[in-house]
């Protein structure tokens, strides 16, 4: 965190100054480790073993926050008798289809779900993760979970052998401290200290927070890493309470915003699923399959209709399904890597690359460039000419002779972009906090904001529309923002107001609970409703934290409804009383008959703690007064996910696709559902291969930004880390004859790149599987051009292996070989690669 989020890390230092104990778990000893109270080295790709062992420690020793767990999680829920665990099937769950490499999750369901009559719900439960894994990934369910029984059978004594608590206990039983030592390389004493610290600092009086970054997500089991963290935090009662939670540090300013108002292919604003071309014929069919009917997600019709009204205005009416038919549809996975394969296959002809540099920043860089070279047209918008815009004249494939400029037909349009200080708008940070940014200076030359670009592109396209029906969605689209200045910059505040939404009177709405399913309200993103309440840009509020309470509700605006801690109903006990004076946040005021507190309660204001839903209740009415997780069908935190995950209801350790050791826990080596590709352009290092004996992990440095587009061209940053380097242990250096400050060549089946050598005891070899495993670390900021600091592309080394839930690449754990000296050039490089591929 100190390494990649130094500004945010000041608050960790502040917490430390106030007595917080900071543990840092990372394959390399970083600037964060230097400041932590305790550093735990871990082999890249084994975090589920560690988290699983912590879960096991909590369960075995009865250290869970029992009242919280019983009331607020699905620990007592009884699961179908058809369910079989990885314990029973040596690393597989029931329902695995070996041919399709996917699960049918129907056996994972809550007991009794089989008898549910409602056809839509039934189908959804049965198809569950499988459908979404194929079409889009389970976070198609958005901020609500998938449909599941609102009131399943339970055993509050937690003794039923098929209740979640017991299943969890059995599942994690083999995740022991000894296993942690064997798989992760963390010594039992260090594990014991961590386990003691997190359990001693959880409960009524205290809370523990987990903070993670892409070290948790970029794995073939990435989504399950987060699930493991969530299970642990739920067991310890650390969700929905001040000082608790799982905090995802994003890789770039407003990445949170770019999933709220998504740049992802599978969701619409506010995490509404993207409709499928063949499954969702009309609005009703779409809504029936779009997640739970109980919980606040049950209001999905209001959110969707208001979105359609926001986009198609008066043209969207109840008679025409509010122009649901105008929405684009999915036919399958349209993620980044699938798109690249489509480019190579010639099915993807055009490509917009905005503020990204995939030729350097994405895994398997050669594959990315092969795709770019096979397009009809390519638009790159960036601050400078990044490698993605210049690959056709100076890419590494030109040097090897694999590509020739004259053969590349791609027409490249480079559009200079305005930087964040040259345009107005919002940043949404990981806390869901929207902060408005003023423009400080005009962008130079022809550089323009993204908003300007898309708005005027849209206007130009609309000028060319015909009367043909195919153009109707664009003709009817609301596209009329006020413009200002000599370049006709559209008003960003008008866009924010449109996102906020308006009521029948045309006034800005104040909360998403005001949204209606009848088309009388418009809202561009239901979770952002309220950011423009009272016709005021709430995100622009700048009241100092010194002039208001600890929660600082008048600094910016957080979705939803300006809540700073999600699910904060959990900060009070089932009766609505704070768990402790020290950790009080919101509570039930019996006299006034309402929820109150320091934060905006994440609960219906007047729903008493003792409220019990009547049968057949829908939406939030089906959530009892004592269950805080109001977006879930049953209002509970899911220790066990009966649907929604493509690769199992519980996190399970699988080795990375490329791993030097077998899976010490199961016969299954790697995630059975991971996405791998059987194509010649997508080679892999064989698991356990002696050709690739070292663990390879990649990361960022404080001094640079992602693929370098914003830092390599700046002398003041580039001089601080001028060259690509690899970090190796002193022992590996000695063994291979690597000289500190000299050169090394790092090889995988994808590429061979050269880097300067940094020999450091911060990289720790581990004794695993009876032998010494060396790890090699590479930052990935460099590319071949466009800056004062250049270097080979680290991501060229990385494989195209994807998590089956969200299709993120396994960028943090692979294998490699290391050789002293610089890499060969031209044809000799190809020959070296061929040698390694053949073995």
């Amino acid at each position: 965190m100190a390494e990649c989020h130094p500004v945010g890390f000041q608050w960790v230092m502040e917490a430390k100054a106030r007595g917080a104990k900071v543990f840092h778990i990372d394959p390399r000893f970083t600037r964060t480790s230097a400041l932590a109270d305790r550093y735990l080295p871990i082999r890249a790709g084994t975090d589920i073993v560690l988290l699983g062992a912590l879960i096991n420690h909590v369960l075995t020793n009865g250290l869970d926050f029992r009242e919280y767990v019983l009331a607020y999680t699905n620990a007592s829920t009884i699961i179908s008798e058809d369910f079989r665990d990885t314990e029973d099937l040596d690393g597989l769950f029931s329902g695995y289809d070996a041919e399709g490499r996917k699960y049918d999750p129907s056996s994972w369901a809550y007991e009794g779900a089989e008898e549910e009559a409602a056809a839509g719900q039934r189908r959804e439960q049965l198809e569950g993760g499988a459908q979404h894994a194929e079409a889009a990934g389970p976070h198609e369910y958005g901020s609500g979970g998938p449909a599941m029984l609102a009131t399943p059978s339970t055993d509050p004594t937690l003794n039923h052998p098929r209740c979640v608590y017991q299943i969890l206990k059995r599942h994690f039983a083999r995740y022991t401290p000894e296993m942690v030592a064997e798989a992760c390389g963390i010594e039992p004493e260090a594990f014991a200290e961590l386990a003691e610290a997190i359990t001693a600092n959880s409960g009524r009086e205290r809370t523990t927070a987990w903070v993670y970054s892409v070290g948790w997500t970029q794995h073939s089991v990435g989504a399950q890493y987060i699930r493991a963290g969530a299970i642990l935090q739920l067991l310890l009662g650390n969700i929905g309470r001040p000082g608790g939670g799982i905090l995802a540090l994003r890789g770039h300013a407003s990445i949170q915003g770019s999933s709220d108002i998504p740049t992802l292919f599978n969701i619409l604003p506010g995490y509404l699923p993207m409709p499928h071309a063949h499954r969702h014929e009309d609005l009703d069919g779409y809504l029936a399959a779009a997640g739970a009917d109980t919980g606040f997600w049950g209001r999905k019709r209001s959110y969707m209709v208001s979105l359609l009204k926001s986009w198609w205005g008066d043209a969207a009416t109840a008679d025409n399904d509010f122009r649901f038919d105008h929405l684009p549809r999915l036919t399958g996975d349209h993620g980044h890597y699938t798109t690249v394969l489509g480019q190579i296959d010639g099915t993807v002809k055009g490509y917009f690359v905005v503020g990204e540099n995939p030729a350097v920043g994405s895994s398997s860089g050669r594959l990315q460039r092969l795709g770019l070279a096979n397009l009809d047209w390519l638009v790159v918008r960036d601050l400078r000419l990044v490698e993605t815009a210049t690959f056709w004249k100076d890419g590494p494939e030109l040097e090897t002779g694999e590509m020739r400029t004259e053969d590349i037909g791609t027409e490249v349009f480079f559009m200079p972009a305005a930087s964040h200080v040259e345009k107005e708008g919002t940043f949404t940070n990981t806390q869901r906090l929207l902060q408005w940014r003023e423009k400080a200076v005009d962008p130079p030359g022809e550089a323009r904001s993204d908003l300007w670009f898309y708005y005027h592109l849209g206007k130009r396209i609309r000028r060319r529309l015909t009367d043909d029906d195919i153009d109707l969605p664009l003709r009817e689209l609301t596209w009329d923002y006020p413009e200002h200045g000599e370049h006709a910059e559209p008003s960003a505040e008008a866009v924010l107001r449109e996102i906020n939404g308006t009521g029948p009177d045309g006034r800005a709405l104040s909360a998403y609970t005001e949204l209606e399913p009848d088309g009388s309200t418009r809202c561009g993103c239901w979770i952002y409703c309220g950011v423009y309440a009272d016709e005021v840009n709430q995100a622009a509020r700048r009241k100092s934290r010194h002039e208001q309470g600890r929660i600082a509700p008048e600094w910016g605006w957080a979705w939803p409804a300006n809540r700073r801690v999600l699910y904060n109903r959990a900060s009070a006990d089932p009766e609505g009383r704070p768990w402790s004076e020290r950790k009080k946040l919101v509570w039930w005021d019996e006299e006034k008959g309402e929820w109150t507190g320091h934060d905006v309660p994440d609960f219906e204001k007047d729903k008493p703690p003792h409220y019990l839903p009547p049968d057949e209740a829908r939406a939030e009415d089906a959530i009892s007064g004592s269950t805080p997780f109001i977006m879930q069908a049953d209002g509970k935190g899911w220790l066990y996910a009966p649907a929604g995950m493509a690769d199992g209801p519980l996190p399970t350790h699988y080795e990375p696709h490329e791993s030097p050791v077998p899976n010490p826990l199961y016969g299954r080596r790697a995630n059975p559902c991971r996405k791998v590709y059987d194509r010649p352009e997508v080679p892999y290092n064989p698991a356990g291969s002696s050709r690739f004996p070292y663990v390879l992990t990649t990361y960022r440095l404080t001094e640079h930004h992602t693929a370098g587009g914003m830092s390599r061209s700046l002398p003041y940053l580039a001089e601080l880390q001028p060259e690509l380097f690899c970090e190796v242990s002193p022992r590996l250096a000695e063994e291979l004859g690597l000289v500190n400050g000299g050169w090394a060549t790092i090889v995988t089946t994808r590429a061979a790149i050269e880097a300067r050598v940094l020999v450091t005891g911060r990289i720790r070899p581990l004794r695993l599987d009876g032998r010494r495993i060396e790890q090699v670390g590479l930052p990935y900021h460099w590319g071949w051009s466009g800056g004062v600091a250049t270097g080979d592309v680290t991501n060229d080394l990385m494989p195209m292996v994807l998590d089956p839930n969200v299709y993120i690449q396994e960028g943090k754990a692979a294998t490699c070989d290391v050789r002293p000296g610089r890499r060969p050039r031209g044809q000799a490089l190809l020959e070296l690669m061929e040698e390694y591929r053949r073995g």
Binding site: Q10, S33, L35, F725, I763
Partner: protein
């Protein structure tokens, strides 16, 4: 004269982000200092000089067993071997049991942002023949670029090796403690940019008090290696306007353990020189007198 201001750099909370280096260059329009991969931990800056007015040092260390734990551990840092980074470091044998870390890994990483000390007795200022170096109303020491003639006397005069001449320009440059910002009532750029308040700016007396409290706190936490550097008005430079809290001996950070203002002996030297001149004059006079006889 205004109140004396200064820097207190608390290296125990430095996260090595180098924001101070960048902010300094941005504000003061200091040019880049070359693009050199130095293979010395994460330090590619090297040291202070004409084009580097803030420099973050990175020192990788091994805490000997059983003091097993990073900066929070009860390590007697005074006895720490300050290993340099390099293949020669590794000495340990393989661990026996699974999960054991092989070899003897680095588990302490010191980071410290160095800067001009703005000495109470500043030799650079003493030796400057043009008056380009002067003491400001804030008791800081500043070079006036338009007066500097590039003679370079100040460079060897500095006991810390802070000031340097730019090759292409010839003149001497160093930290001004953002003199222009101070006059405008702002804190220096590096202190402003520091995310963890490792660099603190303020009236020197207040900083000294705060620093003493911080050392006491750290000692209370068992981090007895914490000590102040440059805070003693009785040291060889009369105390620094920019002083530090260090977690190891000054040499480990590349700082002189006992800096002395290089002009300290000048009065005595001039005295001896005068004495020598007088003696010589006496001898010569005697010689002439004798010949006259």
């Amino acid at each position: 004269m205004a109140e004396r201001v200064g820097f207190f750099t608390d290296t125990s909370i430095c996260i090595g982000c180098k924001a101070c280096e960048v902010a300094c260059k941005e504000w003061n329009d200091v040019p880049d200092d070359g693009f050199v991969f130095r293979a010395t931990s994460y330090d590619n800056t090297g040291g202070l000089g004409a084009s580097t007015w803030r420099h973050v040092a990175f020192i990788e260390q091994r805490v000997p067993a059983p003091g097993n734990g990073g900066p929070g551990g009860p390590s007697g840092a005074g006895e720490l071997p300050a290993d340099s980074v390099g293949p020669g470091v590794e000495t340990g044998a393989d661990g026996e049991r699974p999960g054991a870390v092989v070899g003897e890994p680095v588990d302490r990483w010191l980071m410290a942002s160095d800067v001009c000390k703005h000495c109470t007795h500043a030799a650079c200022l003493d030796v400057c023949p043009t008056g380009a170096l002067f003491r400001t109303e804030f008791h800081t020491v500043v070079v006036q670029a338009d007066v500097c003639n590039g003679c370079g006397y100040c460079v060897p005069a500095c006991p810390y090796g802070v000031i340097g001449r730019r090759e292409d320009d010839g003149r001497a440059f160093k930290c001004t403690m953002c003199y222009d910002r101070l006059r405008g009532g702002l804190e220096p750029a590096c202190a402003k940019a520091c995310p963890t308040d490792s660099i603190q700016f303020g009236p020197l007396d207040e900083l000294l008090e705060r620093a003493e409290r911080r050392v006491t706190d750290l000692h209370g936490q068992g981090r007895t290696e914490a000590r102040l550097y440059g805070a003693d008005p009785n040291d060889g430079v009369g105390g620094d306007g920019a002083f530090f809290l260090l977690m190891d001996d000054p040499e480990v950070y590349g700082l002189p353990p006992d800096p002395v203002v290089t002009t300290r002996d000048l009065p005595a030297m001039w005295g001896w020189a005068a004495g020598a001149a007088l003696s010589m004059a006496g001898v010569m006079a005697a010689a002439f007198l004798r010949r006259r006889r």
